[in-house]
């Protein structure tokens, strides 16, 4: 066989394998989606039902009304949004300072920020827990939001982006008499939009999916975040009512999936840049 033909065969094989792998990867999500619409009788039956005979929204409705899922949804939403908004703005501000200014202790301070990325959460988790309980911030939004407000990753990313902004632009602004804060708000901030949106998505998603910290400090039913609610939910049933459980899953995953699908490019860009800069 000639090299050309061999190469073409390899390429076709590659396509087939990739598509097959894609199907395998997609299957669990498909399975979740399909199960959410099944009737109870179709959930634990063998052979499994690959497409429900009479798809129904019953499970989804049940989840939304039966349990304090609505509350959990609200909690996760508030926490994720609050952290995202503050963190993105704060990261941009700090990143701007590190990128476009020269000041004493700059290197050391930036190293400190980097060091927080290298220290695993488990190292501070116990004293942090004790501190939050001491402040009586457990079972509260404060306890969920405040400790998560600073994203060193965000500061790192923003600094990288701000670095590439042309200095001349800021010179011109300074000559025009802009205060430093105005330099930031009107020149720096608007010009790093792709990085901002990527960071927004990341931070929101990270908070939305966060489990360990809420798990430690939340005990009250109505302060649970979605990850906790979901965990509780699956233990609630005496029988394997997976259609309801999968419906709950679907509701939890839906927002992040939607955000991802709409803002795919920003997402991918953000990660790619992380990898390249590192």
């Amino acid at each position: 066989m000639t090299t050309r033909a061999f190469e073409r065969l390899l390429r076709i094989l590659g396509y087939v394998l990739l598509t097959a792998l894609g199907l395998v990867f997609f299957f669990p999500l498909y399975w979740m989606l399909v199960t959410a619409f099944k009737d109870m009788s179709e959930v634990i039956v063998v052979p499994p039902v690959f497409f429900p005979a009479k798809p129904s929204f019953d499970s989804i409705v049940a989840v939304l009304t039966e349990f304090s899922f609505k509350r959990a949804f609200l909690n996760s939403g508030i926490v994720s949004l609050a952290v995202m908004l503050f963190s993105v703005f704060n990261s941009a501000l700090a990143g701007f300072a590190f990128a476009k200014y020269t000041f004493r202790g700059q290197k050391v301070l930036f190293m400190l920020i980097l060091s927080t990325m290298m220290i695993p959460f488990q190292m501070i988790m116990i004293p942090l827990y004790m501190m939050i309980v001491g402040l009586q911030w457990n079972d509260s939004y404060l306890g969920l939001i405040v400790p998560s407000l600073v994203s060193s990753f965000g500061i790192f990313l923003m600094r990288q982006f701000m670095d590439s902004l042309p200095n001349e632009m800021f010179d011109a602004g300074r000559i025009d008499g802009c205060s430093d804060f105005r330099l930031f708000m009107q020149l720096a901030f608007p010009n790093v939009k792709p990085a901002l949106s990527a960071l927004c998505i990341f931070l929101f998603m990270f908070q939305w999916n966060s489990f360990l910290w809420p798990f430690l400090i939340i005990n009250k039913n109505d302060m649970r975040t979605l990850s906790l609610a979901l965990t509780m939910y699956q233990n609630m049933f005496t029988g394997p009512q997976y259609n309801k459980v999968m419906a709950a899953n679907l509701i939890v995953i839906a927002p992040t999936l939607l955000i991802f699908l709409c803002l795919q490019r920003n997402f991918v860009q953000g990660i790619a840049l992380t990898g390249m800069k590192a």
């Binding site: 090299t3 190469e7 990739l18 990261s91 700090a94 290298m118 501070i124 979605l226």
Partner: protein
């Protein structure tokens, strides 16, 4: 060239909120963690006395701790190797596709990553069920025996790993794609002129040029993998027995089931040193490659 500031306080003001928050919610707990590890500190009363290294020796002589270390290391090794191999192959496959199809397929591989780990775990729990679980159904259809994904102590840690790999692969695929796009096409053209076939090109151009990316990905993966908690807890709570007990799970139990905060802190610090060594290796190698 950085700019000289008119108002020298400005940068300090800009970074102040970050450092204030970090000071209170990161560095203070960090210091306290170290202090705590030398004290006999429990939340169930009893005297809080300085006991030197007793906590550390207690942790290191606890057989359950070593079981959890073994589980975690095995899991991490499997995770890192599989995920990098998969991600490189997928990334290579994706790069050769037309734009539309590539975006579509990338989305398919990346979708799991945006999903909550808890949600992912529950989906897989359903699939791992012995009787009606879809995985065992497929196995039976293909003529194999059922597998006790959640019940067989030898298998269950790999069940956790498989799930995590499924979810995280997309992330590494993206980074590899970025790495692949950085390889100049001229190498491939030259190789083709010399008569090298696709496999040879892959071995002699693609893989070596990806060394940097692979290194970054591997180390990132190791650090992420070692900290595994969510999925192990939600899937099997560390069972059956101690089969999926990871280091962080062990730490969690020491602190929040037995309330032995001092000992748990020592545990965390030991764990941290383990990760530090690996991170130090990474920085050392990164610097060397840069030079």
């Amino acid at each position: 060239m950085k700019k000289r500031t008119r108002n020298p306080i400005a940068p300090y003001l800009f970074i102040a909120p970050s450092f204030l928050l970090l000071g209170v919610f990161f560095f203070a707990p960090l210091v306290f963690s170290v202090v705590l590890s030398f004290f006999n500190w429990t939340l169930t009363g009893g005297e809080r006395v300085f006991i030197g290294l007793t906590n550390y020796t207690n942790v290191l002589t606890n057989s359950t701790f070593w079981i959890s270390m073994k589980n975690t290391v095995l899991y991490a090794a499997f995770y890192v190797i599989c995920i990098n191999v998969l991600a490189i192959l997928i990334a290579n496959g994706l790069v050769g596709l037309t734009k539309r199809y590539r975006q579509f397929m990338t989305a398919i591989f990346f979708m799991p990553y945006v999903c909550s780990m808890v949600a992912v775990t529950i989906i897989w729990k359903y699939m791992y069920q012995p009787g009606y679980g879809i995985l065992n159904y497929f196995l039976r259809q293909l003529g194999f025996n059922q597998v006790g994904w959640l019940t067989d102590s030898n298998v269950v840690i790999w069940s956790v790993a498989m799930m995590s790999i499924w979810r995280d692969t997309g992330f590494y695929v993206i980074i590899y794609i970025a790495g692949l796009m950085g390889i100049s096409q001229t190498y491939y053209e030259a190789a083709r002129v010399d008569g090298a076939n696709a496999l040879s090109q892959f071995r002699h151009i693609t893989l070596p040029m990806l060394t940097n990316t692979t290194f970054f990905n591997s180390l990132f993966a190791i650090i992420v993998a070692l900290q595994v908690f969510d999925q192990a807890w939600v899937l099997t709570k560390g069972g059956p027995g101690y089969a999926t007990r990871t280091v962080v799970l062990h730490l969690y139990e020491t602190a929040f089931k037995f309330y032995r905060m001092g000992e748990a802190s020592a545990n965390a610090i030991i764990f941290f040193f383990f990760i530090m060594i690996l991170t130090a290796i990474r920085f050392y190698f990164s610097k060397r490659i840069e030079e």
